[in-house]
Amino acid sequence: MAKLIAGIGTSHVPSIGAAVDNGKTQTEYWKPLFDQFEPARSWVETVKPDVSIIVYNDHAHAFDLGSIPTFSIGTCESFRSSDEGYGPRPIPDVQGDPRLAWHLIESLVLDQFDITMVNDMTVDHGLTVPLSIMYDQPTNWPCKVIPLAVNVVQYPQPTGRRCYALGQAIRKAIESYDQDITVAIYGTGGLSHQLQGERAGVINEPFDNWFLDKLVTDPLTVAEVDHTTWLRETGSEGIEAVMWLIMRGALSEEVKEVYRFTHCPASNTNYGMTILENAAGQ
């Protein structure tokens, strides 16, 4: 049987990927952030998940306003990096796991989650920056990846409660898979940031710290935060962090926080990372 071994929360700021691609990780600006990735990189080297489900939002690259799926799963054998205006990132193609992807889709749809099935898509920085954060610049990514894209570009984004419940259903789906593999799940995006408007640059560290605390001890309280509160408190793009609740929902009620830090600023964002494992016996 497949086993869910951990949840990782991380912001997916595009300039972190650009710093890796352009050899700038040791500059005065970036080194303090990249130094704090080291414990996470050591941790992932130890746990070595076979597959990572990366919950992220596409930033109008694979999808556009022509159709906007709320939740979608990529079933491809491999995924190329999107051209985000500078040409595709110089990274290896991301290898998928079509058999597990289709198992997830079947299990989730029959469990009342109406997933959009995507057989042809590229993956943008929302998915590839978390890989660079954890694995730096390998010749090939050391795990297979299943993209789970969430609409956060168009209001209304899915609610926290729905995201948490989807995570719970993903856990059931993983545990009913017939292969002995280990799976990690990533929640990405956030933390507080606003890219647009006269309020661009807004940061709310107290809210972000509350979010990271409650994510461990009381995620249902976070799941009840309404859209206007998210937008008001964490910035118009900070609401991306709702995707971390999918990751959290897939974990057990009791979790152990293995690692956490925040760093401000990464570009216009309060960067956040958390690594959670199921508590012993769960």
């Binding site: 109008a60 209001y155 408007g197 006269e198 570009s267």
Partner: protein, 131 residues
Amino acid sequence: MREPREFDDIPGTYVFDGQRNREGYHLNMFCKSLDIQSNRDAFRASPEEYLSKYPMSDEQRRCVLERDFLGMLRVGGNIYYTWKIAAFDRVSMQAAGAAMSGTGMTEDEFKQMMMEGGRSIEGNRSKKESN
């Protein structure tokens, strides 16, 4: 005229709801087209001619040609889309943020604000609060 929503009370924030989608659809889809190199080349070679393929309003066209990033938000632009114009121009997120601040802030001033912990949430939660 925009039908008011609860989140319109958040200052300096243009939540991309259905009303803004309807107004900005073609503006945003023009931005989307810049994902493709041959389209970027065509837009660079002849901006007005390229824009004429999209049924946008005169104001939307003006905002694009003058790189009025704040103006784009007011006529239905979505930042994840309008950002593609900034990427096309190789403009930094901090320069775009400074321009959208609407206060004449420079890119360096915006960067400095971020280094000092970002724009404060205090006083910026609600229009009622800031009045």
